[in-house]
Structure formats: structure tokens, C-alpha cells
């Protein structure tokens, strides 16, 4: 496959596969139960029996990180796919609907993006209390505008082209034009955007859980492990080090993969680099 020609694409694919595999098969890989406490072994450093050490309750950090990957995967899969579908829909409405609706949607997109994500999160958690569902809603709300904008731009530029006009002259309905002609043309850019969006979503979840706005203890998430490590940073520095590694690897993996995909789908982008 063409996108595997560079080392970045290969590395990206390997890291992304590792992200999926470690999350899905976490129960097989994890050496311990993520919530099993072992008080005598609390805050013990990295060793052969605990590769990434233990936390203040003696729980194995590596096992907790593996299980934390499942939270990240769940949020990433649900958040990215739902916001992509909704964004696609709204973007098409903006491009093919009446002009006032287009202007209104653009205003809403810009207003939503105006909110710094963390402040939106803090404002809503004040009302609802922390939960993973809240993180998911915030991820979707803040991600929709970019998918919608990309769809809208692509649909608008296609709307005036000859093959769409010909289709319209043949009597095709707007629904048919959107579904059969616009959709295939925006799927590529949207998938690249989705790959770029996964690290953002994963770090939003980790950041929110770190602040205690997302996943609540004892559930393991990369953010809650970071928070537990932050509280004992002087006694158990390995926790914040270990909890950061999967975040960075996931980001690198999806970024490399997205760039490799973009080079294949849109060779013009590579010219300048």
C-alpha cells in the first residue's frame, strides 16, 4: 500500500494497531487485576514483578494503564464517529440549505469553538457532576464544527461543478446528489480529520479525568492514573512518567498515520514540505 512507503506511515500504523490491541485485549495482557490492592507493596518502584511500579494502594500501574486504554478507546471511537456523522449532516445542510441557515450554522460553529474546551467542561461539570458521558458530550460538541466546516467547504466547491449541474438537469433530487456524489468526495478528507482528531479526543479525556471531571476513581483511566501519580509525585515519580507514555505514543501513532494518509489522498499537500 502506498501510504506505507515512508517510515512514519509504518510506525503510525504499528502504534495505532498497538493502541487498539492493548485496549481490546487488556484482560489478556494485564499481569494483575487493575483494582486488586496490595497494601504491603504500595508505592513500590518499577521491578520485575511490577514493571511500572505500584500506586498508593499497591495496585499495579501497568495493569491499570492497559485497562485505562479501554476508556480512551471507548471515548475515541464513540466521540469521533458520532461527531463525524453529525458534522457531515450539518455541513451538508449548511452548504445546500437556505443562506440564512448557513449563516446561522456558521455562527453556532464559531461560538462553540470559541469556548476553550476545558472551560466548557468546567462550566458543565459544575451542573451535572463528573461522568464519562459528560466528557463524551463535550468531545462531540467541540469536534462537530471542524467536521461540519470541512464538509461544507467541500460540498460548496462541488455544488457549482459541471457534473453536479448535469445531475441536477437530469432531475436528481438534492438527497441523491448529496448521498451519491457529495458524500464519496468528502469521505477522504473526513477520515484524515478523524485520525487527527483521535489524539485530541484522547487527551481531552485524560485531561478531564486528571482534573476529576471525567472518569471517577477507582476506574482506571490515563488521566486518573496521572492524577494519582501527581499527588505522590515526590514518593512515586514513576507513576506520572508511565502514565504519560501511552498518551504520547497514541498521539504520535495517529498523527503519523493521518499524515501518511493525507499524502496519499492529497499529494498537493506534500509539495511544500
Amino acid at each position: 500500500m502506498a501510504f506505507l512507503s515512508g517510515w512514519q506511515g509504518v510506525l503510525g500504523l504499528v502504534l495505532v494497531v498497538a493502541f487498539f490491541a492493548s485496549a481490546i485485549f487488556a484482560p489478556l495482557f494485564a499481569p494483575y487485576d487493575p483494582n486488586a490492592m496490595d497494601i504491603p507493596a504500595r508505592l513500590s518502584g518499577p521491578s520485575l514483578s511490577h514493571l511500572a511500579g505500584t500506586d498508593q494502594l499497591g495496585r499495579d500501574t501497568l495493569s491499570r494503564l492497559l485497562y485505562g486504554g479501554r476508556v480512551a478507546l471507548k471515548i475515541a471511537a464513540l466521540g469521533v464517529s458520532l461527531s463525524m456523522v453529525i458534522g457531515l449532516f450539518l455541513g451538508m445542510i449548511a452548504a445546500f440549505g437556505p443562506r440564512w441557515l448557513d449563516a446561522l450554522l456558521l455562527l453556532i460553529f464559531d461560538s462553540v469553538r470559541a469556548f476553550p474546551t476545558i472551560i466548557l467542561g468546567l462550566a458543565t461539570v459544575a451542573l451535572t457532576g463528573p461522568s464519562l458521558g459528560l466528557v463524551l458530550v463535550i468531545v462531540i460538541v467541540t469536534s462537530i464544527p471542524q467536521y461540519a466546516r470541512v464538509t461544507r467547504t467541500a460540498a460548496l466547491s462541488l455544488r457549482g461543478t459541471e457534473f453536479i449541474q448535469a445531475e441536477r438537469a437530469l432531475g436528481a433530487s438534492t438527497a441523491r446528489i448529496l448521498g451519491h456524489h457529495i458524500l464519496p468526495n468528502v469521505v477522504g478528507p473526513l477520515l484524515i480529520l478523524a485520525a487527527m482528531d483521535v489524539p485530541v479526543v484522547v487527551s481531552i479525556e485524560a485531561g478531564f479525568s486528571f482534573l476529576g471531571l471525567g472518569v471517577t476513581p477507582p476506574t482506571a483511566s490515563w488521566g486518573t492514573i496521572l492524577n494519582e501519580g501527581y499527588l505522590v509525585i515526590r514518593d512515586a515519580p514513576w507513576m506520572v512518567v508511565a502514565a504519560g507514555v501511552p498518551l504520547i505514543l497514541t498521539t504520535l501513532g495517529f498523527t503519523f498515520l493521518a499524515e501518511a494518509l493525507r499524502d496519499v489522498f492529497d499529494p498537493r499537500m506534500t509539495k511544500g514540505r
Binding site: 472551560i119 459544575a126 501527581y230 515519580p237 504520547i248 504520535l252
Partner: protein, 314 residues
């Protein structure tokens, strides 16, 4: 230029009002009486009655919004539930710390990132170009809160070079500056790589333009061509990017303030959320949003002032 300014300003005001409205409705639409939520489940009926009258909760929602919007416009953000001090005063005390942090972070990122991007573009594939490429990929991959935590671990816990907490003694400028170093480093680092990459890409594009070749052909010094003719054009997308990324900068600053236990608007919102102190949450979020919109507006105006083509596109 004037028409562009008016249109752009109108759009910004519309966005601020929309955000205000959404926030207001969000606070009203949640189940339960806002007075009970603000005062807690064990508040006496009289206290709830007093609070409802004070906050106009007995009036229709649209009237509440009109009153609230009117108060916001005149700079009145209500009073703190606990101390009864003015919310605007409390925010005023804190916002300086946040602005100092964001300015310091952005300042060093621009001072390092823009020249790095320029030099990388002038000498593609040199060691400097490679360093900037590694730096940009490496730093973009690390979320800002992780950067803050790791900076804390390295510079405070292990090396003991920098203080871990707070913003320094009031009035003691050198002490405050020392306390600013680590948060500013952590918040700005991902911007260095980002800016370098952005500036490099647009510089490469501009350096290939015929007018740059002409400038070279006229025998101008390379430094003059780069900084006098290429950079002012190549910097435009970067200015827009800084404006758009300001929301991310606010988010990073919020995390840094919480991690380094540093006063500021992010710490204020976080503490108020935990204390369920709604007037402060509402007021601080409105101020943060207005700040964001203001910066985006400024960057747009700056770009349209430098580049006449943008003015006619709205």
C-alpha cells in the same frame, strides 16, 4: 477597511451574546431550582426565597436573561455567594496572573519558533531544519498538562531548581518572575514546534514567488529579502493561527494554574466549580470567552491591516 471592521465587530458581538445565552440557558435548563443548587440541599426555605428574589429567579426566563445581559454590559457580574464580594473585583484580582502566564508563554514561543521556522525554510534539510522538525513533532505529541506535570517532576522534584507552587510573594517582582518560568515553559513549549512548522511551510511557499526572485536579482542582501519582503507575507497565516489557537492557550494555562497551584482565572473557575459557586463560574467563563473573542478579532484585524486581500473577502 471600515466596513470590514464593522462587519467583523458585529460578528464578534453576536458570538459573545450567543455564548452568553447558551451559558445562561445551560444554567437554567438543568433540573432543579438554581437557588437550591447554589445554596445546597440543606438551605432553609427563607434563604432560598431571598436568593431567588435577589437573582430574579421569580421572573420569566427571557426577562432574567435581559437583566443579566444588561448587567454584564455595564460590567456588573453579580456577587460571590460566600463572601458577597463583587465577582468583577475577584476576577480582576486573578486575571493579571493568567495574562502574565499566557503572555510569557506565547512570548518565548514566538521569539524562538518564528526565527527557527525562518531559518529552517531558508536552509531546508540542514541540521537546524532537522532539529526543528523533531522538536515540532515531539512537542505537539505531548499534551500541555503532561508537559506541566513532567516539568514539575524534572525541575522542582528532581533538580530542585524552580519553586513548585504559587505565583511568588506579592510585590516581589524577581520572586514572581522565578515562579513564572516553569508554567510559561510548559505552556509555551508545544507552540515553539507548532509555530516553527507553520512559519517554515509558508516561508517555503513565499520564497518561491517571483517577487522574491526579483528582490534577489536587484542585489538586495539575503537578510533584507527574508526579513523585509518574505517574512511579512509568510507570517500572515501564523498570526491567524495564534488567534485561533488562543482557546488552546487558555486551556493549557488553566491546567498549568491548577498543576502549579498558581492563582489565575483558570484556578478561580476550577475552585469555584468544586465549591459550586455559580456567580463566579458564570462571570469568569464570560470574561474568558470575551478575552478569546477579543484576541481572535485583534488577530483578524491585524491580518487585514497587513493584507488588503482579506478585507474584501468578508
Amino acid at each position: 477597511m471600515l466596513t470590514y471592521l464593522i462587519k467583523r465587530l458585529g460578528l464578534s458581538v453576536a458570538v459573545v451574546v450567543t455564548v452568553l445565552l447558551v451559558l445562561f440557558l445551560l444554567l437554567r435548563l438543568i433540573p432543579g431550582n438554581p437557588a437550591t443548587i447554589a445554596l445546597g440541599p440543606r438551605a432553609s426555605p427563607e434563604a432560598i426565597q431571598r436568593y431567588s428574589e435577589k437573582m430574579n429567579l421569580d421572573k420569566p426566563v427571557w426577562m432574567q436573561f435581559a437583566t443579566y445581559a444588561g448587567q454584564v454590559v455595564t460590567g456588573d457580574l453579580g456577587n460571590d455567594v460566600f463572601s458577597d464580594r463583587k465577582v468583577s473585583t475577584i476576577i480582576g484580582e486573578q486575571i493579571g496572573f493568567s495574562l502574565a502566564l499566557m503572555a510569557a508563554a506565547m512570548g518565548w514561543a514566538v521569539a524562538l519558533g518564528v526565527p527557527l521556522g525562518c531559518l529552517a525554510a531558508v536552509r531546508p534539510n540542514s541540521w537546524l531544519d532537522r532539529i526543528s522538525a523533531v522538536l515540532s513533532v515531539g512537542t505537539i505529541a505531548i499534551p500541555s498538562f503532561l508537559m506541566s506535570i513532567w516539568a514539575l517532576l524534572i525541575f522542582s522534584v528532581n533538580l530542585r531548581w524552580l519553586p513548585a507552587m504559587g505565583a511568588g510573594d506579592p510585590g516581589n517582582i524577581p520572586d514572581q518572575a522565578v515562579h513564572l518560568i516553569m508554567p510559561a515553559l510548559a505552556v509555551g513549549l508545544s507552540w515553539v514546534g507548532y509555530l516553527a512548522r507553520m512559519v517554515r511551510a509558508s516561508m517555503l511557499e513565499v520564497m518561491g514567488e517571483p517577487y522574491i526572485r526579483s528582490a534577489h536579482a536587484f542585489g538586495l542582501k539575503p537578510a533584507r529579502v527574508i526579513f523585509g519582503y518574505a517574512l511579512p507575507v509568510a507570517i500572515l497565516p501564523t498570526i491567524t493561527l495564534i488567534g485561533m489557537g488562543f482557546g488552546g492557550l487558555i486551556s493549557a494555562a488553566v491546567f498549568a494554574e491548577i498543576i502549579f497551584a498558581r492563582p489565575g482565572i483558570g484556578k478561580l473557575i476550577y475552585d469555584s466549580v468544586l465549591a459550586r459557586n455559580f456567580p463566579i463560574v458564570q462571570g469568569a467563563v464570560v470574561v474568558a470567552t470575551a478575552l478569546y473573542i477579543g484576541v481572535v478579532l485583534m488577530s483578524d484585524i491585524l491580518v487585514s491591516w497587513i493584507d488588503p486581500r482579506v478585507r474584501n473577502s468578508l
